[in-house]
């Protein structure tokens, strides 16, 4: 896996801003979860498709996204 | 008359329009935003003017201009915003201009909180601005009373050519209660020969001014203002007294705390203590003599001021009581509302102290 995107779902406000800036269109709100504040938090289903561009994280107003990238792997492949 | 459910702020705005107010200048601040918002929607419907000013300072000076040109004019704000209006209010008083100012008080000092409070009593009754001046201060305890005071306030302002303030805590602005609208004529508003409307070549220029650079003129102006204030004191004191026979302890409270004091009277009754409520409706002029007479009664052992502040009206209570009975206090600050139980307990403490 090249990249990993993690959400602090407790603090996500379900605003969807991350979803529109993801070039891979892989973020959506998880309507099966309602967090403590009453929001459906964002999540990524197809993590493998993630390119680790961090657009989502940069856009998230609540800083709930952390993006990691396997730089080693990138270098070697 | 049909009863309607009105939110305090909107009721105040509607009452102003019904009282013939056609000019409103204000700036947003919680918890009174519904007043300008209502005005922005409804003023144009009656050919009136709503202007959202760039600040409270600008708003009060627009009021100055409009009042000087003869309009029935109003502004509203809440505590920090009212602080900013102090210079303007002093000017309005100095230039003898009528207007209505509404303060829907929140907790302070500084930015404080947006919860209801009564910590601007000093500012309202003593004048937070510079110089020797007074504004008539009306304190409603229900939405209905707030509506009635709006009309009363405009009329008093015109009668005495001075600013009138409605001083209400945030609760009065935010709550809804039933209101009955009384017919009130707006076509017989007084002529204002002193207003600046253009000379039309038919009279000498009218001048709206608070500057009297010569100290003798300045003194005369102050003496004139003072005579007016004495007249207001003589004629316009309003209060409500609910003092039972054999009353042992008298609560003095205005606005929401007066309602809570009423509840405390009940609580005390259950415990066999005879309590009464004295509710000043004009905070300036304060019903000093009236309260003094009640405090003098033999049965009365103590007087207790109840305020949503750390103790401001209590000064007037002390001045009125003038030492004939001990004065107790029940106060809450910063947006906290006292409970009837706390109010009742303060009375019991005061009675204990009085023995």
């Amino acid at each position: 896996m090249a990249s990993r995107v993690t959400f602090n779902q407790d603090r996500c406000k379900g605003c969807s801003l991350c979803t529109v800036v993801c070039p891979k269109n892989i973020i959506f709100l998880d309507r099966t979860i309602t967090n403590r504040r009453g929001y459906h938090p964002a999540t990524v289903e197809d993590m493998a498709a993630c390119i680790g561009c961090a657009n989502c994280a940069r856009m998230c107003p609540d800083s709930v996204i952390t993006v990691e990238r396997n730089i080693e792997e990138e270098k070697t492949t | 008359m049909k009863k309607e459910l009105w939110k305090g702020n909107e009721a105040i705005a509607e009452a102003a329009i019904r009282a013939g107010c056609r000019h409103f200048f204000g700036y947003p601040i919680t918890p009174q935003n519904e007043i300008p918002e209502y005005m922005s929607l409804h003023m144009p419907k009656v050919g009136g003017v709503f202007v959202q000013a760039e600040s409270e300072v600008a708003a009060i000076n627009m009021v100055y201009g409009a009042a000087g040109s003869g309009a029935r004019v109003m502004t509203s704000s809440s505590s920090p915003g009212i602080s900013l209006k102090q210079e303007g209010i002093s000017y309005l008083a100095g230039a003898e201009l009528p207007c209505l100012i509404v303060n829907i008080m929140r907790g302070g000092p500084g930015l404080g909180t947006i919860q209801p409070a009564q910590a601007d009593y000093y500012q309202a009754t003593r004048g937070g601005g510079n110089g020797d001046y007074r504004v008539i201060v009306l304190a409603p305890a229900t939405i209905q009373e707030a509506c009635d005071q709006v009309r009363d306030g405009f009329d008093l302002a015109d009668k005495y050519r001075m600013p009138v303030m409605i001083l209400a805590d945030g609760m009065i602005g935010q709550m809804m209660e039933a209101v009955e609208w009384h017919d009130s004529k707006v076509d017989d508003l007084p002529e204002k020969a002193w207003a600046t409307t253009g000379t039309k070549g038919q009279r000498k220029p009218n001048i709206i001014n608070s500057l009297f650079i010569d100290p003798n003129e300045s003194e005369n102006h102050n003496l004139k203002l003072n005579r007016k204030y004495e007249e207001v004191k003589a004629n316009e004191i309003r209060y409500e007294a609910d003092i039972p026979e054999d009353c042992e302890v008298v609560f003095v409270a205005y606005g929401t705390p007066a309602r809570l004091a009423r509840a405390a009277v009940r609580v005390l009754k259950e415990e066999g203590i005879n309590a009464g409520l004295f509710r000043p409706i004009t905070l300036w002029p304060f019903p000093e003599r009236e309260l003094h007479e009640i405090a003098k009664r033999d049965s009365v052992k103590a007087v207790v001021a109840v305020e949503m502040s750390m103790g401001q009206m209590i000064d007037d209570v002390k001045i009125a009581v003038n030492g004939v009975k001990p004065v107790g206090f029940c106060g809450k600050a910063g947006g906290i509302v006292p409970t009837p139980r706390e109010v009742a307990d303060a009375a019991k403490d005061a009675l204990k102290g009085a023995r």
């Binding site: - | 918890p31 919860q115 709550m175 209660e177 039933a178 309602r259 809570l260 509840a263």
Partner: protein, 189 residues
């Protein structure tokens, strides 16, 4: 008779509207009423609550500190206000999003799955009216006709078709309050 009702939930759940409808209808039925919102920046996507007092005598204080009726539209509201409910009071829980149960035995509790029922009516926004219907059914506070009349005054013109939807929501809530299967009810012991 004095009902002191506290209604609390997330912003956007129509908490204020439940309160206003109760107050309006109470007034129409000839009671003294008051409605008092909480306000503050916590309203930004946070919680909201309001106090309604309906009484046959002059209302002294509009602030409900010890509710006779608590309507908890979300879990934080239940946590916060349940302890203040008077013994013998009634607690209405929006069971669609509140998992918890009322842990007091000296109050009557009602669990209304407002959102499921509103979904059933095809419009999630009437969940609050479902709750109102249940509350009114249980407390017998107000005439159904009054509420209906009021709603038809509220929704006019292009919104007139919302009247029927809201009334249906009220009815559904009412019937739910009578149906053990629909809601779980625990009486005070």
């Amino acid at each position: 008779m004095t009902h002191e009702i506290l209604i609390s939930g997330f912003g956007g759940q129509g908490v204020m509207a439940i309160g206003k409808t109760l107050a309006e209808a109470g007034m129409k039925d000839g009671y003294e009423v008051s409605w008092l919102p909480s306000y503050g920046p916590e309203m930004r996507g946070g919680t909201a609550n309001c106090s309604v007092v309906i009484s046959d005598e002059m209302i002294i204080s509009p602030i409900v500190l010890e509710p006779t009726v608590l309507i908890a539209m979300n879990a934080p509201s239940l946590d916060k206000f349940l302890p203040n409910v008077i013994p013998g009071g009634k607690v209405f829980v929006n069971s669609s999003i509140v998992d918890k149960k009322v842990d007091r035995t000296d109050v009557d509790s009602y669990y209304i799955p407002t959102m499921e029922m509103a979904q059933h009516l095809g419009n999630l926004r009437v969940a609050n009216m479902v709750m109102l219907g249940a509350v009114n059914e249980v407390t017998d506070l107000l005439e159904e006709d009054t509420i209906r009349e009021m709603l038809s005054l509220l929704f006019t013109g292009s919104k007139a078709d919302l009247v029927e939807l809201n009334i249906n929501a009220l009815r559904m809530g009412a019937s739910c309050a009578n149906d053990e299967a629909c809601m779980i009810r625990s009486e005070s012991q």
